[in-house]
């Protein structure tokens, strides 16, 4: 059976339109390859050429304007064994330029045929990205003023493996189609055509003039690049096997050290109240969120419920960084702060973002960098000089030390219990640094908290 199921006359194209001739030759070339139809998928774009899918006996896929390349890429990635052929017009190469560039750049082995007739035939002869300067169209009545897009140069620059141009009226069209279909990697053939309804009559274009136009525009016919690219697609994904509850395979668990089992029973030294709210406020780079996360992991491992809600601007190395850490005996539903029992202010950024210290409760312990100037507050204040701490644990670990100090100072956990839990829970490349910071935090405890 032939891959094309209609004759040139049976196709819906205007008499003399190059599309029918190109489709006939594409069908013949596919027949010469001898692939079973199930091994071929034809992806057609929008425009007159987009209607071609119905004439093909293989798998066909007809989507949205300019997006044919995106569909073809996914089909090729899912089924690298298929020959995936794209039929796209010059309009499609305009609206889908990004896809053309990036799929070529990614080296996906699809075969793209650009049926380039220099205008939008289906919508009434408007100019397209390839309309030559001076070309008269419905939207350039006095002649196009823009430089035409050289699809071939674009794809060469983007890393396409095989790039060629020919005219639909050339005698070598079959060979050019064959070469495109057989080229490994991303291949594109820019086929110059005649639109008998619009562009040809308006611009008195004819076969010899196509050749002349190629010369004038410096867009030559022939094979312009033929460097076998990457192979035709990556290996197909294995079907996803059923995976155990939680579904984790690699990576996307809660980080390197978040999967510690919850401990049943009482942990000596852990005297956690029903609900505790902690606010850490500092600057980007001070590992505020990491400190909250480390303590969160330790307390989850101790069987507590934890929620960590962060607040930070889009830059990760500049500006404020806040973490709300809520630790409770029962599941936490509202993850915002009501009345924090412990507030740690490490920097000016954090102080400004946190808001009013005057609204804190007298029961709140406020640990604050003593270089800052803070307003009067009813909270118990523990000013801390950071310089000696930075000498012990480096600036990046100060937040964890201050948080450790706060947890013990508030009496929720003993140093011994925290040391044991941290030792059993923390893993990964920051384990030692984190354990050192926790020890440093323990040494800060015992300074009595004064009222400001």
């Amino acid at each position: 059976m032939s891959m094309v199921t209609a004759t040139r006359q049976e196709m819906m194209y205007c008499p003399g339109c190059s599309h029918a001739a190109v489709l006939e030759q594409l069908g013949a070339a596919l027949d010469r390859l001898g692939l079973p139809p199930e091994q071929v998928c034809l992806v057609s774009d929008i425009g007159c050429i987009g209607t071609a899918d119905r004439y093909f006996a293989c798998h066909t896929f007809h989507g949205l304007h300019g997006r044919s390349i995106t569909y073809a890429e996914a089909i090729k990635r899912c089924r690298p064994d298929l020959l995936v052929v794209v039929l796209i017009g010059d309009g499609g190469c305009g609206i889908g330029t990004a896809h053309l560039v990036h799929t070529a750049r990614r080296g996906v082995g699809i075969k793209v045929f650009v049926c380039n007739n220099f205008n939008f035939g289906m919508t009434g002869g408007q100019h397209s990205p390839t309309t030559p300067a001076g070309g008269v169209t419905a939207t350039t009545p006095t002649g196009a003023g823009d430089r035409p897009l050289d699809v071939c140069q674009l794809v060469i620059a983007s890393g396409g493996a095989f790039v060629a141009r020919c005219s639909a009226l050339d005698r070598n069209l079959p060979e050019m189609i064959d070469a495109t279909l057989r080229a490994p990697g991303f291949a594109l053939l820019d086929i110059w055509e005649l639109c008998v309804a619009y562009y040809m009559p308006t611009n008195k274009l004819n076969p010899p003039k196509l050749v002349e136009m190629s010369r004038e525009l410096g867009m030559p016919f022939g094979i312009l690049k033929n460097e076998p690219g990457r192979t035709d697609g990556q290996p197909a994904a294995r079907p996803a096997a059923d995976v155990p509850a939680g579904g984790s395979r690699i990576g996307p668990s809660g980080g390197e050290h978040s999967r510690a089992p919850a401990r049943a029973g009482v942990i000596p030294g852990l005297r956690w109240p029903p609900r505790v709210e902690i606010a850490l406020a500092g600057s980007a780079g001070e590992r505020i969120r990491s400190a909250a996360g480390v303590i969160g992991e330790i307390l989850v491992a101790a069987g507590l419920q934890v929620a960590q809600l962060d607040d930070y601007p889009i830059t990760v190395r500049k500006g404020f960084s806040l973490s709300n850490l809520i630790v409770a005996q029962q599941p936490i539903r509202y993850t915002g702060l009501r009345t924090p029992e412990l507030v740690i202010i490490q920097s000016e950024d954090g102080l400004r973002r946190f808001g009013s210290l005057a609204e804190l409760s007298p029961e709140t312990l406020l640990i604050v960098n003593d270089e800052l100037t803070w307003e009067s507050t009813p909270a118990r204040v523990l000013p801390v000089t950071l310089a000696p701490l930075i000498r012990q644990v480096e600036r990046a670990n100060v937040a964890l030390a201050l948080l450790t100090c706060g947890l013990i100072q508030c009496g929720w956990i003993t140093a011994e219990a925290l040391r044991n839990l941290a030792g059993a829970t923390l893993k990964g490349r920051f384990r030692e640094a984190n354990l050192r910071a926790i020890e440093a935090g323990m040494r800060l405890v015992s300074v009595p908290a004064a009222r400001a």
Binding site: P37, E38, D53, R54, H59, T60, H62, G63, L64, R67, T70, Y71, E73, A74, I75, R77, C78, R79, L82, A98, H99, V101, H102, R106, Q234, P235, A237, A240, D242, A245, G246, G247, S248, R249, I250, G251, P252, G254, S258, R259, P261, A262, G296, V300, Q305, V306, A307, Q308, L309, I314, P331, I332, R333, Y334, T335, G336, R338, T339, E359, S361
Partner: protein, 384 residues
């Protein structure tokens, strides 16, 4: 086993559990970590992960992968959902199962990249041209993000439709204690395979609400996929009966499943005069507020809606039985309150809207409930 994970990590876990094996995505805050983690998860060859040039390509790849038999997902935020739009319509037309995760942030436009907001709840339903329905689920926390992502894959497979799962920044990046072992999930679903012994008619259905049988691109049965209006063979048609049948089918298959898709958690006091309807991030505060109100003797009901679309009308009407007021706290200008208003004509629907990036606190909800009830003994406490 207790774990300490973000909402986005929960999405990844739910997707992997559901057999997701294709992700195409474009980085955007606060959704990016889903793409990062899926790329790491698929490093073992069990899936394909592509960082593409834009969200248009992401959704295009997902639709095509689905028609090859894959279980695809993409994850984005509001600005990216805008770009997914055209190919979501394409997915509806070709009946491609695709899971779309929208980690909402404050909008419109760039809005606040790291600021929470839940303003996409109507946009998700009406995201594409034509007006045909698609299921939309809304997570309230990390655990429900896991459950709903898993369920979204089953719904997508069963109904061959795009399904949108909504999170928001303070669910996506907030870490919470979860135990994923014993979460009740929908039964695993797969597309109905086309019978191998007959010629394949890709869009043939015996009745309007039936979902067509599936054969993948590249299989022994030749497949026709087209975004143009088509007949049972997948060929463009101009026959009005065929056109109406196809489009009525797109509506009917979702409408017929509406009651099955209802996913709510109702906590009803039959004597209540007020019902709080919640979804998304405010739900945690609503649960706290309702418990606190009840502790003072107030009679309050709560309905948490996880399946925003189709609107769970039956559940809303049942929960509102006998109440005078319905309070709808939302992190937008009051979008879903209007939807509830349409379901409950004659009942006073009060919107509690916040859209400055902050959370709605339990105290705010308690105070509004009390003022609607013309005073109640609001529980003590200094703040929130």
């Amino acid at each position: 086993m207790a774990e300490f994970i973000t909402g986005n990590q929960a999405v990844v876990r739910g997707a992997l559990r559901a057999g997701c094996n294709y992700i195409a995505g474009y980085p955007i805050t606060p959704a990016s970590s889903i793409l990062n983690d899926m790329i790491r998860a698929f490093a073992d060859g069990r899936g394909i992960a592509v960082q593409v040039e834009d969200e248009i390509a992401a959704m295009g790849q997902c639709v095509a992968a689905a028609m090859c038999g894959a279980r695809p997902m993409t994850a984005t935020s509001g600005p990216g959902l805008s770009l997914l739009s055209e190919n979501i319509g394409f997915a509806q037309m070709v009946e491609a199962p695709v899971v779309i995760v929208d980690c909402q942030r404050m909008g419109p436009a760039t809005g606040g990249a790291t600021t929470t907001g839940e303003g996409d709840v109507l946009f998700a339903r009406h995201v594409t041209a034509g007006g045909y329905p698609l299921p939309v689920l809304a997570a309230t926390d990390a655990l429900s993000a896991y459950r709903l992502t898993y369920n979204a894959f089953q719904i997508a497979e069963e109904l061959r439709t795009p399904v949108i799962v909504l999170l928001s920044k303070d669910i996506s990046s907030t870490r919470q204690t979860v135990d994923l072992e014993n979460v009740p999930l929908l039964p695993a679903r797969q597309r109905r395979p086309a019978p191998p012994d007959r010629p394949f008619r890709p869009y043939e259905v015996a009745q309007l609400a039936e979902v067509p049988a599936f054969a993948p691109i590249g299989g022994p049965q030749r497949v026709r996929v087209t975004g143009s209006i088509h007949d049972a063979c997948g060929l463009l048609t101009t026959d009005r009966r065929e056109i109406e049948r196809k489009l009525a089918h797109l509506n009917a298959k979702i409408a017929a499943a509406a009651e099955r898709l209802e996913d709510v958690d109702a906590d009803i006091d039959p004597q209540a005069h007020i019902l709080v309807v919640s979804y998304g991030l405010p739900d945690g505060a609503v649960r706290d507020a309702v418990d606190e109100l009840r502790a003072t003797g107030a009679r309050v009901s709560r309905l948490t809606i996880y399946s925003l679309w189709p609107v769970p009308q039956r559940a809303i009407r049942a929960a509102a039985e006998g109440v005078r007021h319905v309070l709808v706290p939302e992190l937008n200008i009051g979008l879903y309150a209007d939807v509830v208003r349409q379901v409950l004509p004659g009942v006073h629907i009060e919107s509690l809207a916040r859209y400055d990036g902050g959370l709605i606190a339990p105290r705010t909800i308690r105070e509004r409930v009390c003022s609607l009830l013309d005073g109640c003994n609001a529980p003590g406490g200094h703040s929130a």
